[in-house]
Amino acid sequence: MNETTSNTRLIYVSANCIDSELLDKEIDAILSVAREHNKKNNITGALLFNSGYFAQVLEGPEEAVEMLFERIQEDERHEGCVVLSCEEISKYSFSEWSMAYEGGDSEAKTHFSHLIKHSKSTGEVLSANEVFSVLFEHINQ
């Protein structure tokens, strides 16, 4: 119970189910709940949104990330959740952020849209590395 637990990074994408007129309000709500919860549980991460899809990186203690992911999957504001990667990490990449957000008119969003488009046209699964680097570069620049 008291051993140092290992840290995990989980990256997933999912499809948006929020109506467009409620979008801003709901995203705000998601972020505020996420930030409060994550701060308490030593979780950091980033959320990327392009109106059609979400991509999220979660980093934190293994158990906390597992439990959070269970809650996220229950959320009816998205569907078709696909885990792109899940691995043990030695250091956090978004340590400054309880939940950074890239949406609106950001460059990251445009970049993400390109990735989604490519994945759809080729039928290839979105690459975890690419999603991660889009977020990492834009948020930590």
Binding site: M1, N2, E70, E87
Partner: protein
């Protein structure tokens, strides 16, 4: 964690007495465990358990208990129980708890929580044993229907088999009860490959997902392993039961993440709804189980509702099972012989022995129907051995060049003593091994595990034959009826032996030629090799694919080179 260290100081005897209190037996889920294993199981359990001493201070607590009362902060060493629950319970609940603690007897106290996600709980206080007692906090949302502490499954906090039996025997109502059975797909594989710790964790996560889908009044139970059941006693419409079942299927199909590993499983569900035809609740349970079996048969990750046809099929199968067990004693089996004619000499060259079963109750039953069931229930070897002996007894009086053919199933050939039995049989009846032809199905041939025994049989002189070749290759069956324009034969088709490889390729070429379908080869590195292959025995080979994949650039270069 301080509590963690403390727990190790508890004597085995003390701990065993806690467990005696816990479920009446010094074991968990029917498995005898060592003290350490019990401690670990309790620690990992999602039950909120603590042990308090005579001063009402906590000396040990499960992680779930700590999470519940203390919001993930560590409990200070020997925290008083009432201090620990201060923020969790309402003031009134705290008072009730305080007066209950004062009594040394087992108490179950309903308490209201301040935590909005839990609301109502039952606090169970065990008897005092060696100056300690067990405290369990049971959330009511899961366990509205759990009456006693011994009805809780320690791993998931759901009801256990004991509760299942109690509910089915006392609350069953022909016009109100429905049963939903849920079984996880390929759960054993998770346990085998990732270990029991991950398996148990998965069961907990699945349970948590399921629990959120049911209403507090539904009886949700883990029967054992990966088998769950919901008993619903308030006349819920079938359409709603189906939508609930579908939600179980969806919930289980979503990805799990455990120990930084992604895990995907699924759930198969069976539903049975009672009506006036039911006399006993066991019948309803069995029907839900049949529906579950149907879901698995149909490819898993789905739901099925019990219907009469499932029952009829099951009854027929059951009748076959019972019939098979008695058939030999009742002399219902006989061996028939199908003549084999040599087309060149036009003479009789032997017989195939086939098994016939005329059941007193079921009439004539086709081997395709009863053989697979005989395999399932383990009767195949007895019946198979009996019929082989009958056949050999007959055949030994026939001309010495006659062949006796006999079909042997995969299960029989995998049997350790099959070879010994066969050798004993031919010796006993002084029958030439080379006169016995063992007919195998393609399925048997494809089973790697059977190869050793097949080779042993062949080495001892028995003949091996393949029954109904290409039966399993649907594509080959359809070759003549579908517009196939080309076949590709793989060079590595038959291992490394050149002669065997050549023969295999040749036979495919023959099929191609007969059906008018050109054949190309795969896995040839250059034109020279191809021409060699074509010259040496395969003049009809139409072309080849090389072994080496090219990049776009290389491919383009090759295209332009050829066009020059």
């Amino acid at each position: 964690m301080s509590i963690d260290r403390k727990q190790k100081k508890l004597s085995t005897a003390t701990f065993a007495s806690y467990l005696l209190l816990w479920d009446g037996h010094p074991n968990i889920m029917g498995v005898a465990m060592t003290n350490d294993e019990i401690t670990e199981a309790l620690t990992l359990s999602s039950l909120n358990i603590a042990i308090i001493n005579s001063l009402n201070n906590i000396t040990w607590a499960s992680q779930s208990f700590l999470d519940l009362v203390n919001d993930k902060k560590e409990l200070a060493q020997a925290t008083n129980l009432l201090d620990a629950t201060q923020t969790l319970f309402s003031d009134l609940a705290q008072e009730k708890l305080a007066s209950a603690i004062a009594s040394a007897k087992t108490k179950v106290i309903p308490c209201v929580c301040n935590n909005p996600s839990i609301k109502n709980v039952l606090v169970y206080l065990g008897d005092i044993v060696e100056e300690h007692r067990v405290v369990t906090i049971i959330p009511q949302s899961i366990t509205n229907q759990i009456r006693n502490n011994d009805e809780v499954d320690p791993l998931t906090g759901l009801g256990n088999r004991k509760m299942f039996e109690r509910v089915l025997s006392s609350d069953f109502s022909i016009d109100k009860t429905a049963i939903i059975m849920i079984d996880l797909d390929h759960f054993k594989r998770i346990n085998d490959t990732l270990g029991h710790v991950v398996g148990d964790k998965l069961l907990k996560l699945v349970s948590n997902r399921f629990v959120k889908l049911i209403r507090p009044n539904d009886n949700f139970i883990r029967l054992g392993g990966d088998e769950f059941v919901v008993i619903i006693n308030d006349n819920v419409q079938l359409s709603r039961l189906k939508s609930l079942a579908q939600r179980f299927v969806v919930a289980a199909s979503k990805t799990f993440v455990i120990q930084s590993q992604q895990i995907n499983i699924g759930a198969s569900v069976g539903i049975a709804v009672s009506d006036s035809s039911y006399k006993h609740s066991d019948e309803l349970y069995r029907h839900a189980d049949l529906a579950l079996y149907e879901s698995k048969q149909l490819g898993r990750s789905r739901l099925s509702v019990f219907n009469v046809e499932l029952e009829q099929r099951a009854q027929y199968r059951r009748a076959i099972e019972i019939g098979l067990r008695r058939g030999l004693v009742k002399k219902e089996f006989s061996v028939l012989f199908i003549p084999q004619i040599d087309v060149i000499t036009n003479d009789l060259s032997g017989f195939e022995a086939v098994l016939k079963w005329r059941s007193q109750e079921l009439g004539l039953v086709e081997p395709q129907k009863f053989i697979p069931i005989a395999e399932d229930i383990g009767e195949i070897n007895t019946i198979g051995q009996w019929s082989l002996e009958q056949a050999i007894q007959q055949a030994k009086s026939w001309p010495s060049h006659f062949t006796l053919s006999f079909s042997i199933t995969l299960i029989q050939i995998l049997e350790d003593d099959f070879f010994a039995f066969l050798t004993m049989l031919v010796e006993k009846h002084t029958f030439e091994a080379s006169n016995l032809e063992i007919m195998l199905s393609e399925q048997t041939l494809m089973e790697q595990k059977a190869h050793k025994n097949i080779k042993t049989l062949a080495a001892s002189g028995f003949k091996i034959a393949l029954d109904d070749p290409i039966a399993r290759y649907e594509s080959l069956r359809h070759l003549s009826t579908l517009p196939i324009s080309r076949m590709r034969v793989h060079q590595d088709f038959a291992g490394h032996d050149d002669i065997i490889k050549d023969k295999t390729i040749k036979s495919i070429m023959d099929i191609g030629q007969m059906l008018g379908i050109p054949v190309v080869a795969q896995g040839i590195n250059n034109k020279a090799d191809f021409w060699q292959l074509k010259k040496h025995g395969f003049p009809d080979l139409q072309g080849f694919f090389t072994n080496t994949p090219l990049s776009v650039e290389e491919a383009n270069a090759l295209v332009s080179n050829t066009q020059k």
